[in-house]
């Protein structure tokens, strides 16, 4: 019987983390090197964790399927990273960042975790600057800030439009230093395909060497997963092509609970779809909403070019509906508003897109200022679409972007399986039902630099886990299972390609488990996904062998997991009879179309336990709000 213990320490919220750090057990410096820790992932969360654990003296084995640590998906983050520094003297504080995040998450996050995140946010910026991250600066040489959706203060630090890249280069450099010093050993082009659990504790992983095809076993005293999010379940998303859910999903099937799988974020400012061959969707940073104005025509199926639509016939719908936050309304709200106007037939040329217009900002600030702020984003836009956004408004549409759900973790970031820690986007912990812009980078680095180094020591000191040899029968068993799956995939030789089936899954997810959901659609989705899963196992075609590079085999393996996770997302969405954050159930809305939360019945984290034959058991962690009192989330 699983008992969910959040392990949130007692005491005033502002003292919890300090007290907890004091109470956590320590490992003596000379003993640290006797402990081996596996870290999977080298994004912001994984690279920062590897670096910090290495600095402390642990023996760290780090894995990534990429050829280089610097290619992790974190590299693509554009907009920025939040921190409660209050350098702008505009009223920011740890408490305000905490408050904004709890409210932004629509009261479905754990208060204590969010407070801790806000509390360490300032140290993240200090740490990054000391590593040489070239954040944007003002003429006086001090750090510059901008604002992001869901906040009324300027607390976002940025490095042109490439913040994720610069932060990741910094974190990877810190990890490289530990590789240089010999505490971290990095294994590239290795994909984790399973978790080894012995006597209920995480003891190691099984990976595929993506070059030789060999299945390798690694054991450790503890395993840290920092493997990112699962937006690619939708096939088309803003995530990189190879982002996947394999590490966390297969750990889920080995006993780790999966929390709030249906909480996914649809980002409002992405490029609209161009055609069938499309492989991914491109995000246009939300920072553009600082100066761009979002609008559509007041008339249905308006076939005029945007510059021919006069001012009085334009509907700046975000400014109209949410006057105090306007174009900077939170993501879930902005996305839904775009869907609404497009469903009314008022999208660009009657289709699925809205305008993001810089005309007024260019008039007010001059082209130079706009170029300085967004030059590279404008270039990206022009290379992809062939349109020049200085002259014609951008066309944007919402797209799957981030997954708030993930493996359940306690306050120590440990899953219900002792020895299995989960960091970054892969866990469920801090963003509730909706993540605020520029908070994912903050969370990844908070987890890796400032939380895991403390909580890992406590685990090792309290549980005293042993190191199991990889010749242990359980390692052999897991390895055999992995090899069997590979063999099976290669032997089906059916008629459908992996991408073809993935696209079909994506369509089901987008139509029925996407921006708006209802009972009927979700039930249909569940049965369609089950059928598609069966079809996959009888009609997929994976050419080639398992003994060398086989990218189709890699994608097929990832799709197995999406075909299972997709079902659980629908089940979770069906269970949650309320609308909150990114989860909008059409049955639960106010007359004006705003989301209707049900705090009485759903103020809990839904943590799902995997049972035989694709059944899941629901465990609930009740959420208590002592500081930020749940209220209707209004941005009007």
């Amino acid at each position: 019987m699983i008992k969910l213990e959040s392990k949130v320490p007692s005491g005033n919220i502002s003292e919890k983390w300090t007290n907890h750090k004091f109470n956590l057990k320590l490992i003596n410096p000379a003993n640290k090197r006797k402990y081996t820790i596996i870290v999977v992932g080298t994004g912001l969360a994984g690279a920062s964790a590897s670096a910090t654990l290495g600095e402390l003296g642990y023996n760290v084995l780090t894995f990534t399927f990429h050829d280089s640590a610097r290619r992790a998906h974190s590299i693509a983050a554009q907009g920025g990273i939040n921190a409660a520094k209050n350098y702008q003297n505009d009223g920011d504080s740890v408490y305000r960042l905490f408050y904004d995040t709890v409210k932004g998450g629509d009261f479905r996050a754990r208060e204590a975790n969010v407070y801790r995140l806000a509390e360490v946010s300032g140290n993240i910026i200090d740490q990054c600057v000391s590593q040489g991250v070239p954040f944007a600066r003002e003429y006086g040489g001090l750090l510059d800030n901008r604002s992001f959706g869901g906040a009324q203060v300027s607390r976002t630090f940025y490095a042109r439009g490439q913040t994720g890249q610069q932060l990741l280069i910094g974190a990877v450099a810190s990890m490289n230093r530990q590789i240089d010093l010999g505490t971290v050993k990095l294994f590239t082009r290795r994909e984790m395909l399973d978790l080894v659990v012995i006597d209920g504790q995480a003891k190691g992983i099984v990976v595929r060497n993506l070059v030789t095809g060999e299945i390798e076993k690694y054991s450790a005293h503890a395993v840290v997963l920092a493997t990112g999010g699962y937006s690619n379940v939708f096939f088309l998303s803003t995530n990189a092509m190879n982002c996947n859910t394999t590490a966390i999903w297969r750990s889920h099937k080995r006993g780790a609970l999966f929390a709030n799988p249906c909480f996914t974020q649809i980002h409002p400012t992405c490029l609209p779809l161009h055609g069938e061959s499309q492989s991914k969707l491109t995000l246009m940073s939300e920072s553009l909403r600082n100066d761009g104005r979002v609008w559509v025509s007041k008339i249905k199926n308006d076939m005029r070019q945007p510059n021919d639509i006069p001012e009085e016939e334009r509907d700046y719908y975000l400014e109209r509906k949410y006057p105090s936050f306007g174009n900077l309304s939170p993501r879930d709200i902005s996305s839904r508003a775009a869907k609404e106007v497009c469903d009314e037939g008022r999208g660009v040329l009657g289709g699925e897109a809205v305008y993001l217009d810089f005309r007024d900002a260019i008039k007010r600030l001059g082209r130079n200022v706009i170029e300085e702020r967004y030059g590279n984003l404008f270039e990206i836009y022009e290379t992809i679409t062939g349109d020049n956004p200085y002259q014609v408004p951008m066309k944007i549409y919402p797209a799957p972007h981030y997954t708030m759900g993930g493996l359940w973790v306690d306050y120590n970031l440990m899953s219900n399986l002792p020895g299995l820690f989960v960091l970054g986007e892969a866990n469920f912990s801090d963003h509730g039902a909706n993540r605020l812009g520029a908070s994912a980078l903050m969370q990844g680095l908070a987890d890796g630099y400032f939380i895991i180094p403390y909580t890992m020591g406590d685990y090792l000191a309290s549980y005293k886990p042993t190191l199991v040899d990889t010749s242990h029968p359980e390692f052999e068993k897991v390895k055999n299972e992995v090899q069997e799956t590979t063999k099976k995939l290669l032997s089906i030789k059916g008629k459908r390609t992996v991408d073809d089936i993935h696209k079909q899954l994506g369509r089901i997810m987008w139509d029925k488990v996407g921006m708006a959901r209802n009972e009927k659609g979700l039930k249909e989705a569940i049965s369609q996904i089950r059928n598609l899963r069966e079809e996959f196992w009888t009609s997929v075609n994976v050419p080639g062998s398992g003994d060398d590079v086989n990218q189709t085999l890699e994608r097929a393996g990832r799709l197995i997991d999406y075909l299972e996770l997709g079902e659980l997302m629908a089940i979770d969405a069906l269970n949650r009879n309320e609308s909150c954050g990114g989860h909008f159930r059409e049955e639960y809305q106010y007359e004006d179309g705003e989301a209707k939360r049900d705090d009485e019945n759903y103020s809990y984290v839904a943590a799902w336990e995997f049972k035989e034959n694709f059944n899941w058991e629901l465990h609930k962690e009740n959420l208590v709000f002592e500081y930020v009192k749940p209220a209707v989330r209004s941005y009007k």
């Binding site: 000391s130 954040f135 990189a240």
Partner: protein, 257 residues
């Protein structure tokens, strides 16, 4: 949007593994001008897979020009004909109906082919693991605004830090030199106040490893800058050379003491 379909002939390098001999194989494709270059290859691969044939191995991830994973030589040019973009940002509207397109991997002694268009660029990381960092432990950092950095200095450091580690500079260079990449890394850290304490040790160690890995020397032809998707300037190579000489002088002086 244009709906015209382009019919193209592709000549793609196929090579089973590092030890086998590769050759060009012809493929005919039809593609929308709105598709990206890599989406065209996706479509080709999808077709090959549906016939039970092994698809063309090529790498990509972000498809936004930032991760540096993609990298093909297209008609003789790393990242293709359009300046300042990575392969994944190239769109088919830049080609004409009936064109023949040659597609090859990045070629360099230090970048051996793994399969088809996939190469091993791990040499870059080995160089970075030999000092390409600032030693700053977590926990000890002072407030981020304690050391003001003039905007132009921060901006120049950023220009260098914009490198995506793709390796096009090496592929473009007749000597397969990695100087542009290494100088970008060294300048990023060496321009910032935080990078000063290790400035000379860093350049010394990184260049040593670069030489050991078999990257060639720089003879100032500047093909690297022309093909670099991020427009990294060769002025950083000059800067690195100055630092390298200073490092050598310093270590000489130390030896004499």
């Amino acid at each position: 949007m244009e709906t015209k379909i382009l019919k193209l002939k592709l000549k793609i390098w196929r090579q089973k593994n590092a030890n086998s001999v590769g050759s060009f194989v012809d493929y005919d494709v039809s593609v929308s001008p709105d598709a990206s270059f890599l989406e065209m290859l996706d479509e080709l691969n999808n077709k090959l897979e549906s016939q039970g044939l092994e698809p063309v191995v090529f790498e990509s991830d972000c498809r936004e020009g930032i991760c540096g994973t993609c990298g093909l030589v297209i008609n003789g040019q790393p990242h293709g004909p359009i300046p300042r973009i990575a392969t994944c940002q190239l769109h088919m509207r830049n080609f004409k109906d009936g064109d023949t397109i040659w597609i090859e991997p990045f070629r360099a002694k230090a970048f051996p082919v793994i399969k088809d268009l996939m190469v091993d660029r791990s040499g870059f990381d080995k160089i970075l693991q030999a000092g390409g960092y600032i030693s700053a432990n977590v926990g000890g950092a002072q407030d981020a605004n304690m050391i003001p950095i003039p905007k132009d200095v921060a901006s120049e450091a950023f220009d260098a830090a914009a490198c995506i580690g793709c390796g096009a500079c090496v592929a473009a260079c007749k000597n397969a030199s990695a100087m542009l990449f290494v100088s970008a890394k060294i300048s990023h850290l060496g321009l910032l106040p935080q990078g000063q304490p290790e400035r000379y040790r860093r350049v010394d160690r990184m260049i040593k490893v670069m030489d050991e890995l078999g990257f060639g020397s720089c003879t100032n032809t500047y093909a690297c800058e022309a093909e670099c998707p991020k427009g990294i300037s060769v002025k950083f190579i000059a800067r690195m050379n100055r630092d390298y000489i200073a490092a050598k002088l310093k270590s000489k002086t130390l030896e004499q003491v």
